[in-house]
């Protein structure tokens, strides 16, 4: 397969009424590839697909088809067809007419030229349309259904009509937006295989949207993992599964154990209270996230592994058992085909190349804010009490609220811009909307013995924190940060604020 770029998205952004939905989307798709956009609900998959189809215009950035910018080409002129999330078949037409809809509108070169030498276009003949429609229906196994009404078909059959209606036009790119979302599990599995087969036979480039990671892993040549409008990782299913670049991807794709760890040296990392051999190279003492897949953990006799753990739960999953083990206060999920009893103490081993080490996404929260007249810190989301004496060693605040230096100089920090840093462990959250800063929990990832929670305020400020308590996504919470935990730095020299 020639590595020819058929589609390229360059720095694409999309805002709806000022709310950013897709951010800095960069991707190229090779001809004939099966690319999947994978991500949780609301992460911008459909929006991106709609920009490719031409139903939405990017706020910024370029979309190139075969090297040419197609931003200004309306959807009906793009050689791209879509299978919609809810099919969008035309109920007033029968199966045949649904499939023939695009063909009847199509004009092709008749081979003749007019006086000016321009090619004369013609519609397809009835026979040509007939043949193409029959071929397409055969490809989706619906030969006998030509004259059936749409609403007499089952979900799976409607799905096939939608696919036939799109592929009959021989598009260069076929877009599929969660096409199997409405089908039951068994049907979905069957259709997955058929889609994969069809992709192979047709040679058309497929761009597929799903939030089902298993589906993405089964079908795709390339997976684009998205979260919150941003691409997290692009890679083959194997890359993404074996080498997730961050905790979000690891958590989203397959089952995983995720821990905080510290690099000891080039070959060792410390997590789960123990030293493990590893192969990824990171700077010494770096704080990292470590991922271990449940199937990569080996259970052995007590004291024979790297560490000992106690089995606290056991569930039979058909081909293997799924165990939860406790290592001190940390949980470890393990999949193994051998049966062990609950409460047994066992040894644990993980091969060095099965320990996946990733950059920690957040080491601290950083914001830009300013100080008000009363020496409060003002962030976009609200007001926080802070300690401004940290800005100048040996200083104190006088009765009028000015900062007084050790040399007696007085500073007026009203409206001073500051950089703010708050550690992940220094933020508390509380149910309800009482506090100064209120937001919604948009993500929660379990990291072995605690959760990493992201709270997003209406002002789009994120507060990332570690907590041992369980919350739910979409909970509304108020954010509290102790005064002494807020680290401030002035963006300008302090002498700029000296009172005359």
């Amino acid at each position: 397969m020639a590595a020819e770029k058929i589609l390229e998205l360059k720095g694409v952004y999309k805002d709806f009424d000022g709310v950013s939905v897709v951010e800095d989307f960069n991707l190229y798709v090779k001809k004939g590839e099966f690319v999947t956009f994978l991500g949780p609900s609301g992460c911008g998959k459909t929006t991106t697909l709609r920009m490719i189809a031409g139903f939405e215009m990017p706020t910024k950035g370029e979309i190139l088809l075969n090297g040419k910018d197609i931003s200004s080409i309306p959807p009906h002129k793009r050689p791209i067809n879509t299978v919609f999330q809810r099919y969008a078949l035309f109920p007033h037409l029968d199966v045949y007419d649904n499939v023939a809809f695009g063909l009847k509108l199509k004009k092709i070169n008749s081979g003749k030229v007019n006086k000016k030498g321009e090619p004369i276009l013609r519609h397809l003949t009835k026979q040509e349309i007939d043949k193409k429609v029959n071929d397409a229906l055969k490809k989706v196994d619906l030969e006998e259904f030509e004259y059936r009404d749409i609403d007499t078909l089952s979900g799976g059959q409607q799905q096939r009509v939608a696919i036939a209606r799109a592929i009959v036009n021989e598009p260069e790119i076929l877009l599929l937006d969660e096409p199997l979302g409405a089908l039951d599990l068994k049907m979905r599995k069957d259709m997955q295989l058929e889609l994969k087969e069809m992709h192979k036979k047709l040679g058309i480039t497929f761009i597929y949207v799903t939030h089902d990671q298993e589906e993405a892993l089964t079908l795709s040549d390339t997976i684009v993992v998205m979260n919150d409008g941003c691409i997290q990782q692009i890679g083959t299913p194997k890359d993404i599964y074996d080498e997730p670049v961050n905790a979000f991807v690891a958590d989203f794709i397959g089952e995983s154990n995720i821990y905080s760890g510290t690099i000891i040296d080039d070959n060792h990392v410390h997590f789960l209270y123990h030293k493990f051999e590893c192969v990824d190279k990171f700077p010494k003492n770096e704080k990292v996230d470590v991922v271990v897949r449940p199937e990569d953990v080996e259970i052995m006799e007590k004291d024979e592994g790297i560490l000992n753990a106690k089995i606290v739960s056991k569930i039979f999953k058909g081909v293997h058992y799924e165990y939860i083990l406790m290592v001190g206060k940390m949980e470890l999920m393990v999949q193994d085909t051998t049966s062990y009893d609950v409460d047994t103490e066992v040894g644990i081993y993980v091969k060095p190349f099965n320990i996946q080490i990733m950059n920690k996404e957040f080491k601290s929260n950083q914001y830009i804010g300013y100080l008000d007249k009363y020496n409060n810190l003002i962030l976009d989301s609200g007001k926080l009490e802070c300690d401004i004496t940290q800005l100048l060693k040996g200083s104190h605040v006088d009765e009028e609220g000015y900062l007084v230096g050790p040399d007696g100089k007085i500073y007026d920090l009203t409206d001073a811009d500051v950089k703010v840093e708050v550690g992940l462990g220094d933020i508390d959250i509380e149910d309800g909307e009482e506090g100064e800063i209120v937001g919604e929990i948009i993500s929660m990832v379990y990291l072995g013995d605690h959760y990493r929670v992201i709270v997003r305020t209406e002002e789009e400020e994120d507060f990332v924190l570690d907590t041992i308590y369980t919350w739910n996504e979409e909970d509304r919470v108020s954010v509290h940060i102790a005064k002494e935990k807020i680290k401030l730095t002035l963006t300008k020299e302090i002498k700029e604020y000296e009172k005359a």
Partner: protein, 260 residues
């Protein structure tokens, strides 16, 4: 049991009050007597009189003419309007939706007076066109109201699916959206016809005085002579029967639609 009988008799009473006058009229349309209450033998004479009365016949024709003309115009404009509103931006949509529904809630007399003032101010003499405009204004919101739910029932991606398959926006409208909302368009049209047929207020205000419809004719003769000419009994019966057939037709269409 007693409750049931009570409920039954209550219902019957209401139905009798509702339909007795009409029934009386129908019965007495088959006799020549000038007064209702005196039966002077069965005859079709009133019907003969009615068909011979050129004024009545002209009014009947005019009524049908204006009903069909205004309904066609309203249906076309109303359908396109509904589609326009449906596919416009969210904020715009709310405003437009409100505006088109004001005439439904507004008292007809207000609409009628406003139109009259408008025509007079613009120096337009009252003619068939002003009457047509009057009836279109009266009926158009009902077309919008009956097409809108059909649009809301459409798959949200229907229009885009047509574009996706190579249809220009106008082809998508003609080949997909309009056929899909056709049932709503038809019921809107039927609603227009019934509204226009029996309209008096708007007609009285916006017509040219030489142009009478059934409603203005009936009102005219009663106002002049004080008593209903007997042939009107035949006319009323005829209208009732026509309306009844019309109702059956619409219901039949609805029943069929439900079955599908």
């Amino acid at each position: 049991m007693v409750k049931k009988i009570l409920a039954r008799s209550y219902l019957s009473l209401i139905l009798i009050i509702m339909y007795a006058p009409i029934a009386l009229l129908i019965v007495y349309s088959f006799t020549e007597s000038t007064n209702i209450g005196t039966w002077s033998g069965f005859s079709f004479d009133l019907y003969r009189q009615m068909f011979a009365n050129e004024e009545i016949m002209e009014a009947l024709l005019n009524t049908i003419l204006i009903a069909i003309a205004s309904s066609v115009v309203s249906t076309i404009l109303g359908t396109l309007g509904a589609i326009g509103i449906f596919y416009s931006r969210r904020r715009m949509k709310r405003v437009l939706n409100g505006i088109t529904q004001i005439p439904v809630l507004n008292a007809e007399i207000v609409t009628a007076i406003s139109l009259t003032i408008l025509f007079v101010t613009l120096g337009i003499t009252f003619n068939f066109i002003t009457l047509l405009i009057g009836h279109v204004v009266l009926t158009i919101p009902f077309v919008v109201l009956s097409v809108m739910p059909k649009l809301q029932q459409l798959d949200p991606n229907m229009y885009e699916a047509a574009l996706d398959l190579g249809a220009t926006p106008s082809i998508a409208l003609r080949k997909v959206i309009i056929p899909e909302v056709l049932p709503g368009v038809l019921s809107g049209f039927l609603l227009c016809i019934t509204l226009s047929l029996d309209d008096y207020i708007i007609t009285a205000f916006t017509r040219n005085n030489s142009f009478s419809t059934l409603s203005t004719y009936v009102y005219g003769v009663t106002a002049k002579r004080g008593a209903l000419p007997p042939s009107l009994r035949a006319l009323t019966t005829l209208i009732t029967i026509l309306m009844f057939i019309f109702l059956l037709l619409t219901n039949f269409r609805k029943a069929k639609a439900v079955k599908n």
